[in-house]
Amino acid sequence: MAGSTPGSGFAEPAATLARADAAPVRDRRWEVVRRAARARLAPFGAAVLLLALVAALGAPLLAPYDPVKQDLGHALAPPGRAHLLGTDSIGRDVLSRMIWGTRVSLVAGFVSVAIAAATGCVLGILAGYAGGRVDGLVMRLMDAVLSFPPLVLALALGAVLGAGLTGVLIALGVVYTPTFARLMRGQVLAIKAREYVDASRALGASGWRVACRHVLPNATAPIVVQASLSVAFAILAEASLSFLGLGIQPPAASWGSMINAGRGYLQQAPWIVFGPGAALFVTVVGLNFVGDAIRDALDPRLRT
């Protein structure tokens, strides 16, 4: 299954990245170069991530205004001294909403990936360890999820669960699960073949015990690497869903929903879109650098 591990086809670019990573690359010298480049970029990524974390945690302190406080008399005010990034169509401070929106984006990114990683790992271990029919069933299920148009899945889940962040987290979690399940299964199969597993089996340890004792610790590195890279794209995917109106419920803001609300005002008030747009872009770039760095640190074998 060489190239057929599409990460998520959620946001369109997300799909493309996973494939890029899957492309076979083996040049060693090039590795060194890239590592050097990353070494320069990783601090930038770390700074972006740190800034985002600070904004998310310190939102109540940092935001100059109440993010839901309306001022219809000052709607669509351009950036200025009172409102550094201007106001939106009902006079809310764009900067404050952007800062609070960081929470939503980070929660969406980390929680959905956590859901996917947890579910994927359990299914992967199950499939890899049990083998046979269970393996077939689980992996066919994962194939089905992968070939399901992700947006339809999110739309339907949103309608079933009711629109809101929970629906988005679950939808994203489901979409990213197969990646982790496949990865875990591969690890399990590889480790299962090793001797010390056979040895503990011979000593009478149960299947699950072996899995927890030996398989999990060994598989941690690649899972963490995959997870760290997935977070950036989960954030993008949440923004795409919010852009389509499927994400967080008003009056709370996420970057995607701010861009959606502002797109009708692109001509009159471009600042509504540009602020959260820039935040989204910079965060995703930064998280990518961090993800690359984690990969280098944790698992040199996975380097591209």
Partner: protein
């Protein structure tokens, strides 16, 4: 090889069953029904009940699923509830713009990626290389809905160079058609260009270290001649693979791009159908998209084995 193909084809059947059963149950769990949506402002209960009976919507879900499956096996994907049009015709019409968009996006991405990757690879570890790799990263991280809005804003509204929405079939009017597809194709193509730049750059670097390249260099050939004669062709193989995989995703997956630019493609069709609760249409399109996706994966896997026997699939 033949047995392998058969085996893989056999494995797709349970996958398709799972996908269709999944979409069926999800749709029916979703509040709302097609008749209500179709006749939103009508209160005539008997008319609605009659329509539901006629369309079989009053039967249990399992029965509806089996009946639908039975028809699908006979090659009948059913008709849209909203306008009574056969699903297959609907998709057939919508796949044209999607396909054209995907192909144009790929062409654009190659036009951008090839020179960038080549420059990066040949002048590796220079500022040109860094600019190239940074571009690739930015292209991947750029949310396409934001890019779409920016493109519309600058090229459609401010400069008025290109139409901001709508679709003309290039087969009918080549120039108008291409013009209507340029902005959405650039939106999709830029992200794709980023991916291809990464892939192509790595594979070029790899190819440049091969023995025959060293031999060619030793013979005194110029760098460009070496690249043209020995490197480029080999380096393009992974690119072709990436493109092949993308085709499946781009058709049916370019929902946001199709939406923002008002292109009547497959992605928009399926989302509109979900909103209209047009069950047969959603089910039909999802089935076709899933089948297309699986087929393109299978094709690429086989292609891999054929191109490079070393990575023949398990």
């Amino acid at each position: 090889m033949g047995r392998l193909v058969l085996h893989r084809l056999g494995a797709t059947i349970p996958v398709l069953l799972l996908v269709t059963a999944g979409v069926f149950s999800l749709l029916h769990l979703t509040p709302g029904d097609p008749i209500d949506v179709m006749m939103a402002e009508s209160v005539d209960a008997t008319v609605k009940a009659n329509l539901r009976r006629e369309l079989g919507l009053d039967r249990p879900i399992a029965v509806q699923y089996v009946a639908w499956m039975g028809r699908v096996l006979r090659g009948d994907l059913g008709r849209s509830v909203r306008n009574g049009e056969p699903v297959i015709e609907n998709v057939g019409r919508r796949i044209r713009p999607s396909l054209q968009l995907a192909l144009l996006a790929m062409a654009i991405s190659l036009l951008i990626a090839a020179p960038v990757a080549l420059a990066s690879a040949v002048r590796r570890n220079t500022s040109i290389d860094r600019a190239g790799t940074t571009f690739a990263l930015f292209g991947i991280c750029m949310p396409n809905f934001l890019l779409a809005l920016l493109l519309i804003f600058f090229f459609g509204v401010t400069l008025r160079w290109l139409p901001v929405s709508g679709y003309t079939d290039p087969a009918e009017d080549l120039i108008a058609g291409v013009r209507s597809l340029v902005l959405p194709a650039v939106t999709l193509g830029l992200a794709l260009a980023a991916v291809i730049t990464r892939t192509l750059r790595s594979s070029l670097l790899e190819a440049l270290t091969e023995d025959y390249v060293r031999t060619a260099r030793a013979k005194g050939l110029s760098e460009w001649a070496v690249i043209r004669a020995h490197v480029l062709r080999n380096a393009l193989i992974p690119v072709v693979t990436v493109l092949g995989l993308q085709l499946g995703t781009l058709i049916g997956g370019a929902v946001i791009t199709e939406y923002v630019f008002g292109l009547p493609g497959v992605g928009r069709l399926v989302v509109d159908a979900v909103f209209a609760r047009d069950y047969p249409l959603v089910q039909g399109v999802v089935l076709l998209i899933a089948a297309g996706f699986i087929a393109s994966n299978l094709l690429v896997d086989l292609l891999y084995g054929w191109i490079d026997p070393r990575i023949r699939i398990r």
